[in-house]
């Protein structure tokens, strides 16, 4: 979403779903995973909206849908691409909107070669490095500029060569390596030339529109049927429903969740939806947009203020060793000429001031050098590899349960078994805390407790009722929760733990003159504490996040941030949450006393906007596209933008405004540049920079798939996906390869309403456990007949990574699909269970491989092949032996599934 629109967050808010004429839920099981949010879907349905649910299984969401489309797991790009093709072929796109607000008219450089030209890959592929060089994807005209975020290159040969040849080019022709750019665009577009060539007739053969049209032309209904297993008639019905409910008078909203992200091409799933929503003219408008449904109370917050390796607060990229030797170089690479990323220096300097206070001065680059640098991807899965390799020795696990909840759970545990020390903070003794005494590896004999050197600390955590703080929900809204009681005994908040850990470390290091300790000793770490347990004040932390000026007055908006060090701000996109010294996140004006937008409940970033890009709700002249879809409009008399929400636009900039030559940053935005974070002010159908795996989405098969890629017969998988072939993480043979028949079925993992993720907050509760007491798998009657599975009996599910057992639920809700002329059976696996807790069961993640989306480093657990057989799994060493037998039978080697190019 960041790359398409400029910010990596849901573009709308849940309540606004009530205004949609049609809602497409795909890659999400909203009724089950977000039941209370689903009330807004029901509101829309009550008023006549059509609900379409695309899902491999018939779920509780499907039960309420008007159209349920069963789809083969891992083929959503083909499905959505088919709709894109339909929309263009039938001239069903919203022409005026597309011309005004998207980059459809923009001309792309001649060097770009599409998958159509290169047999399934884009230009710039470096097969040896498993990466693309995006230089050839750029717009025509102007120097080609590095995408912001592409600063995590490996020290690869190519680059060294280039440097040897006179390295001045390095920032302009970067090699691309594994990086987390998807997120670094969380709130900001990538940079492009300030002025671009456009053809508003959309006829130029190299304009984005024509490229998109050509790219998706092969995604025909026939192909969709073959690839996705969706009958043409049903597919066309969905196409008609969406197009009839989009355009000037109507809007369609889309909702997705991890059903889209957890794939080796996950970011491109969302890209396809973004393209579709831009073509249909649904962005920035009431009843439209794309709603990312997130599964944790503050998962949006934890990317905004990231506990992520590649980001600093507010989507500022972490500096990279190679590029960012000083602040100037960093800013040069990370900011854009046009749009709000032009203010990067003031955001960064203010952050450094918040962290190192008076120590951060103009003279020392505001302590920029105190920041550690990246040298590649350091995502959680690379960390596991580093643990296994003995590089990473200490590990904090806070409120998470990787021994159950992360892909390839065995690798997670083996990594932890190789640590010096491990700290686990949780409510109860989750699997990640006790694997050393009762984990599956102890049972199989692979590990012996006495042999495990890891020192383990378990700290009891405080609950949300025992601490003050804010969560950022799925619609970017911060809501404050107040402490009701103090935590009992040794239970403490993370705020307490980290504050006091930092305090103790600083005390221990006090007096050190070692340069490595300076960032710690000079860190601003003097939060007031309160109460008997000396809990740091969360509101003081929020005030720092919001920021203050030189006099210590709270800031109101990130537009007040300065480059000269006179302002401090811990997270620029959250600037304004503590304006006037009032905790805006704690605002609770009752919803019934406000419009449906409820602007006075909590606080949403950026600047309390609830629908972002809302400038696009009005036409070029600033009038609502339709009387029934009015949201923000230009008021001639008042000479400003007005409406139901905070305009996501300079409120005084008229629709006809044209920037003066040489303007930069926000000043360079024209009156119709609705996507204010983007380097060209437009929504991106085509992404010239910012993505690692291509400027357009292309269907590739999942890492483990029994089917050949019919869309690109000579390119089976995403060529730049991240793969790690190691012991315990072997991949399955591709279609047609010997041994692929050993894993004939597709597995997909998911959640149930009754549990929460890896179960740490649900499996220990009797009230939730009794509702779904055991691990089960869902199979069709046909598969049950084929494999002799008995309803209510036991089944054993096997991949090259592991084997689990589950109770069998034989149900029509999992329908076999006809794919490429054969019947495909899909097996549903909820992933909540583990061996501890009150409700126990095997963890589905024992089966998952680690293969990642190259942009987001998210694992592919929504689609993988596997086998199933009746009965319980073997115990003890026989469990490992069974997996080994499958590996042998399938002829799996370390090279299996590692191909970059090629079909099958």
């Amino acid at each position: 979403m960041g790359t398409s629109f400029g910010r990596g967050g849901a573009t709308t808010f849940q309540q606004d779903l009530q205004n949609a004429d049609c809602i497409l839920i795909e890659g999400s099981n909203m009724a089950e995973c977000h039941p209370v949010g689903f009330q807004w879907v029901m509101e829309a349905k009550a008023r006549g909206a059509t609900l379409v649910h695309v899902d491999p299984r018939y779920t509780r969401t499907s039960a309420l849908a008007d159209i349920h489309v069963p789809i083969r797991v891992g083929t959503d790009i083909a499905f959505l691409g088919g709709i894109v093709n339909y929309v263009i072929e039938h001239d069903a796109y919203f022409h005026d909107y597309v011309v005004a607000f998207t980059n459809a008219p923009t001309i792309v450089g001649e060097e770009f070669k599409d998958t159509e030209d290169l047999d399934g890959v884009f230009s710039g592929l470096d097969a040896d490095q498993r990466s693309y060089d995006p230089a050839s994807w750029q717009y025509e005209g102007g120097p080609v500029q590095a995408a912001s975020g592409q600063r995590e290159q490996e020290f690869d040969e190519k680059l060294r060569e280039r440097e040897a040849q006179g390295g001045g080019e390095k920032r302009h022709q970067p090699s691309v390596a594994a990086a987390g750019r998807g997120e670094s665009h969380g709130s900001g577009g990538a940079s492009v030339p300030a002025s671009v060539k456009r053809d508003e007739t959309l006829q130029h053969p190299r304009c984005v529109f024509q490229i998109v049209k050509r790219h998706f032309s092969r995604y025909t209904p026939e192909l969709v049927e073959q690839v996705c297993g969706i009958p043409q008639e049903l597919f066309l019905k969905v196409c008609r429903t969406l197009t009839e409910n989009s355009g000037r008078e109507r809007t369609t909203a889309m909702a997705y969740a991890v059903g889209w992200t957890q794939h080796s091409v996950g970011v491109q799933y969302i890209r396809t939806a973004a393209i579709l929503q831009l073509l249909l003219g649904n962005m920035g408008r009431p009843g439209g947009g794309i709603l990312a449904l997130r599964g944790h109370a503050s998962i949006q917050g934890s990317t905004d203020i990231p506990t992520l390796y590649n980001l600093l607060p507010g989507y500022i990229p972490m500096p990279h060793a190679h590029q960012d030797e000083d602040l100037d170089m960093f800013i040069e690479g990370a900011s854009t000429e046009k749009g709000y990323w032009g203010g990067m220096r003031s955001y960064m300097v203010s952050l450094l001031k918040a962290w190192w206070g008076p120590h951060a001065t103009e003279d020392n680059d505001f302590c920029f050098d105190y920041l550690p640098r990246l040298t590649g991807s350091h995502s959680t899965y690379e960390t596991v590899m580093a643990q296994l390799d003995g590089e990473c020795k200490g590990y904090f696990v806070v409120g998470e349960n990787p021994a159950v909840g992360s892909a390839n759970a065995a690798m997670q545990r083996l990594g932890m078994a190789n640590l010096d020390w491990l700290v686990v903070r949780d409510f109860s003794l989750i699997e990640s805390a006790t694997w050393w005494k009762d984990g599956p590896e102890i049972e199989t004999g692979e590990l012996q407790t006495e042999d495990i050197p890891t020192e383990v600390f378990f700290f009891p955590a405080a609950a949300h009722t025992e601490k003050n703080g804010s969560f950022t929900n799925t619609q970017r809204m911060l809501q404050w929760h107040h402490a009701a009681v103090e935590p009992a005994a040794d239970a403490r908040s993370e705020l307490w733990f980290y504050y006091h850990l930092g305090r103790i470390i600083r005390e221990k290091l006090a007096g050190s003159t070692d340069e490595m300790d300076r960032p710690v000793l000079e860190l601003q770490w003097d939060y007031p504490t309160e109460g008997a347990v000396a809990e740091p004040s969360a509101e003081a932390v929020l005030a720092e996040i919001n920021g203050w000026d030189a006099e210590g007055r709270p800031l109101a908006s990130y537009e007040q941030l300065n480059e000269d060090g006179s302002t401090a701000c811990g997270c620029w996109i959250y600037c304004g949450v503590y304006t006037t010294g009032v905790n805006q996140a704690a605002r609770r004006k009752p919803g019934q006393e406000q419009s449906w937008v409820a602007p006075e409940w909590g606080w949403a970033w950026p600047a309390n906007r609830r629908i972002i890009y809302n400038r696009a709700s009005a036409d070029r002249e600033g009038k609502p596209w339709s009387e029934r879809k009015a949201y923000i409009w230009w008021d001639d008399e008042e000479a400003k933008w007005v409406g139901h929400d905070v305009p996501d636009f300079d409120p005084a900039k008229s629709p006809w405004h044209r920037p003066p030559a040489g303007a930069t940053g926000a000043e360079a935005l024209a009156g119709d540049d609705a996507f204010v974070m983007q380097g060209d002010g437009k929504g991106w159908l085509y992404v010239p920079s910012g993505l690692t795996d291509g400027p357009l989405p292309a269907h590739y098969e999942p890492q483990d798939s029994p089917f050949p890629n019919l869309v690109y017969p000579h390119q089976q998988r995403n060529p730049v996906r991240q793969v790690f072939s190691r012991r315990h993480n072997r991949y399955h043979p591709g279609p047609g390869q010997p041994g692929s028949e050993i894993f004939p079925y597709m597995l997909t993992t998911y959640r149930l309403t009754e549990h929460h993720t890896a179960g740490g907050m649900s499996r220990w509760l009797s009230y939730l456990s009794e509702l779904q007491p055991e691990m089960f798998c869902e199979v069709s009657p046909e598969l049950a007949a084929e494999r002799g599975l008995e309803h209510n009996g036991w089944a054993t599910v096997i991949t090259a990574r592991g084997v689990i057992e589950a109770r069998v639920m034989v149900t029509d809700r999992v329908a076999p699909l006809e794919v490429q002329g054969r019947m495909l059976h899909q097996i549903g696996l909820p992933y909540h269970w583990g061996p501890n807790g009150y409700a126990k069961g095997d963890a589905a993640n024992e089966l998952a491989n680690i293969s990642l989306d190259p942009n987001s480093h998210i694992q592919e657990v929504k689609a993988m092949s596997g086998d199933i057989r009746p009965g319980r799994r073997p115990r003890g060493a026989a469990r490992t032996a069974l997996v080994e037998e499958y590996i042998r039978r399938a002829g799996i080697t370390p090279e299996t599934g590692m191909e970059v190019r090629g079909g099958r």
Partner: protein, 366 residues
Amino acid sequence: MNETDVTKDGQRHVRPGREATTGVHTGPGVEHVPSAARPARGRGEQAMVPAAEFGSYYGKPIINQPVWESPDIPGYLFLGGLAGSSAVIAAGAQVTGRRGLARVAKVGAAASAALSTVALVHDLGRRGRFLNMLRTFKPTSPMSVGSWILASFGPAAAVAAGSDLTGVAPGIGAAATVGAAVLGPPLATYTAALISDTAVPAWHDAHRDMPFVFAASAVTSAAGLGMLGAPVEERGPVRLLGALGGAAELATERLMEARMGLAREAFDEGRAARYHKGAQALLVAGTLSSLTARRSRFLGAVAGASLLAGSALTRFAIFEAGLASAKDPRYTVVPQRARLEARRTRPSEGPRSNGDHPAAPPTGTE
């Protein structure tokens, strides 16, 4: 299309979500796949999440299982009948000067009343709160009415027996004997209302005949006790009563079965069937032998024991049939569905119009 407009002035035409239509799959034309169309799958053995079969939710019972336990409650039904009828016999024997029979009947009445109270209290979930039975007087609750009867009868029977055995206060003893005799018949028969006044098909659907079965059974048992314990020369009335009671019990029970509809099949299941067969055999034997046991002490005792056991087994059979009929939703659903269908064809007759509604036709299984 969404009927809500977002105008410059705000939202227009807002409608609450509870008015949402359901999924498209809720229109007409549900195909109830008969289980035969699926791979072999008998009751209790499900090959998949079963397609909802007509008439039940996964074969689960509609009503909850009675928590009353055997032998407490069937024992109570039996002992109450025995006590009540014995008290009447005691009075008859006293009046007609049959002192031996009177003593046996009095002691029997008092002992069974005491035992039945023990059984009743034992079955309580909170035994310490048995006195709460006298917290109210509720004619709508046969158990409340019964509690009051038992609470009056028990002391009367005890005083009668005590006086008889000790010879103390013969006047009070006589009065107590009369009192117990007055309370005896209701004690013997109210238990029919007790179990019929439930939603258990085999009990409720027999409510018209159950009091007579219980009455007969009570007489049978008391007569049986009399025959077992009284001197040979005083046995005349109880022999007659035994024969009458036994025959009546057989007859009324047969009549009850014939009129109770589908629930009768519950008498053919499991324990109920065994008890039922045993009861009938013992009652036939007891009836016949009491007719012939004019002099033989042994034959009289056999007759008496047979009648006692037969009467007890009748109660146990009825009790078990009730449990069986509660367990299978068929007994609840099929007659009710038939009743609905009947009403649909005769719409003028509401369900409340017939106090003694005709039993549903024995439609058998679907």
